[in-house]
């Protein structure tokens, strides 16, 4: 197994790099989009709440693989050309943003109506209250579940393998089919994933216990 790694370390590392890159991009954008829809879900206007609800339910209830495939195969036929990495990352971002929206919304719910009422009766606007009173408290509550979503995101990034995204899983597949050492290759791939996910999920567990 060690020899297998020495012979193919560059291929593994390219995959590892792409997996990290895809996860970081998807994390940043899904946090932004997710927070946006979470806030939309709490605004007084019923129309915007419905829009947010539809977005969240749509992306939460369709398999990530199908979403990624739609971006990889269907979008290029109408709009613009995308490569596998971009299509996979867009799919992953939208999929994860729905889960993050749901997590943050429950965080906002957990802060309690009294905080908003108190802030409003002190004369600040809805958006100021959101920005300075509600969201700082909500983010503190949702940090452990958000961390778990990030672990899921890293694991889900393996869907890039289906759309030729050159991620860790895809590169593993390439090595496995050229060396025929299937199981050792996938063990190495697994170790790479654990390097990313295991510390994060132990850290989140320790935060939860506090």
């Amino acid at each position: 197994m060690w020899n297998l790694f020495i012979d193919n370390w560059d291929t593994f590392l390219i995959g590892f790099g792409n997996t990290v890159l895809c996860s970081v991009i998807a994390l940043i954008f899904s946090l932004i989009i997710g927070s946006g829809f979470a806030i939309l879900e709490t605004v007084p206007s019923k129309l915007w709440r419905t829009v947010a609800r539809i977005y969240i339910e749509l992306f939460r209830n369709i398999p990530l693989l199908v979403i990624a495939m739609i971006f990889y195969l269907v979008i290029p036929q109408f709009l613009f050309k995308v490569n596998g990495f971009t299509a996979g990352t867009i799919g992953l971002t939208l999929y994860t943003s729905a889960f993050i929206a749901e997590t943050i919304r429950s965080g906002i719910g957990a802060v309690g109506d009294g905080q908003m009422e108190g802030a409003r009766s002190n004369g600040i606007t809805y958006w100021q209250a959101m920005r300075y009173v509600i969201l700082p408290q909500a983010f503190r509550i949702v940090i452990p579940p958000l961390g778990n979503q990030f672990v899921n995101l890293i694991k889900n990034s393996s869907v890039l393998a289906f759309v030729a995204g050159f991620d860790l899983m895809y590169q593993g597949d390439v090595i496995a089919s050229s060396t025929f050492q299937t199981i050792p290759t996938y063990i190495i791939v697994g170790i790479f994933y654990l390097i990313l996910t295991l510390p994060l999920s132990y850290y989140m567990q320790s935060l939860e216990q506090k």
Partner: protein, 216 residues
Amino acid sequence: MDFVNALSWENVHFLLQGLWVTIYVSLISIALSFIIGLVLGTVRYSKIPYLSAITGFIIDIIRNLPLLLIIFFTYFGLPGLGIRVNSVVASIVALVVFESAMIAEIVRSGINAVPEGQMEGARSNGMNFMQAMFYVIMPQALLKMIPALLSQFVSLVKDTSLATIIILPDLLYHAQIVYSQNTNYMIPMYLIIALMYFIVCFCLSLVASYLQKKFG
């Protein structure tokens, strides 16, 4: 793009056969992984020397790996151990292995959410550990885990689509067969299977949010 011909009765019937495979693979995996997850979560919580630590370690390894990797391991690894399986069995084994680790974690945090006094009270009333677990802790813990469990089951249904890669004849695979014969059907196929997955998962999600309101 050709919606009318793409959605001929023949094609829709073929897709529904795929949907049926998706549903029964999901149902078997849900049932098995729930039972195994319950046992593993309890073992991890019970603090039996060595056994709990080893179980916990294995659970943490499995739930931090991508499901796709576990599907590969099962499909290529089982024949290496001398077990020949078809893709349906391999998919179910992979899903059960992965999801029981996820469910074990939910079970553990559910049990942890029950106040410790409950266990102490039950034990000081003369129950042994298993009785206290079965009659006092579990009923309360299960109530607390219902929302998390159901959203895990929704994930499981969606995750069956990954088994397409080992040629599980599920909904996604059947759609791919249809549009590989006529690429004009590709877009209608993806839209219709997205809708089918959505309907199945959304119904499960509705049950989840109903139960969350009732018990949460």
